[in-house]
Symmetry: C2
Subunit: 118 residues, 2 copies
């Protein structure tokens, strides 16, 4: 199906995070090169410092968060664009009263998540 509402798609808990759900909007079964996902982090939720093997290209849809990328800490808000190179440690902490929502595009390549310091 070419067009669908993101709201209609299932969300799964991200076990490496807290208060964090992920929706696959366009998966590798459909898109030949990359997958489009939406993350929803409840206020106070987020993900601890970790690495992925693949890069992330992200767009913030709603809310705000503190995002660590490498040795930089960023205050991120709706309308911001975030690039996280493969292998770079990063973390998310949702701030404020509303959920922090963002799109995250990843290539259809093998990936492993490694928590930093664990």
């Amino acid at each position: 199906m070419s067009v669908r509402s993101a709201e209609s798609l299932p969300a799964e808990e991200v076990t490496a995070g807290s208060g964090t759900r992920r929706q696959v909007l366009i998966g590798p079964d459909e898109g030949p090169n990359f997958a489009l996902r939406r993350f929803i982090m409840e206020p106070g939720g987020g993900m601890p410092l970790h690495t992925n093997q693949v890069e992330h290209e992200q767009y913030v849809l709603r809310g705000r968060a503190t995002v660590v990328i490498g040795d930089e800490t960023h205050a991120v808000k709706a309308g911001d664009v975030v690039f996280i190179p493969g292998g770079t440690p990063h973390s998310y902490a949702a701030e404020g009263e509303e959920p922090f929502e963002f799109l995250c595009v990843v290539p259809n390549q093998p990936d492993r998540i490694d928590l930093v310091g664990c």
Copy 2:
């Protein structure tokens, strides 16, 4: 720079369309596999029926439009997800009173735009 505001980035007119601008949010110089762009179509603007060689993975940020994909016509609105396979004819017509804005991800591969019927 890992984080930037989309509003701070330049927008260029899309000559194949009308009332349509494009911003490159993360380009092929930065992302190794795919590019993240934002399109802004003013009310009444859009793009005529055309093909690209590459696929599009899209997320609608704002507004609404009539989008033709192959032989289907869709009423598309904010929060909708759109997949357009490579080589499939498609067109956009922004509807309503506010701009139609969407993200569009494409692979870093050669592409050519061909207008259909021209």
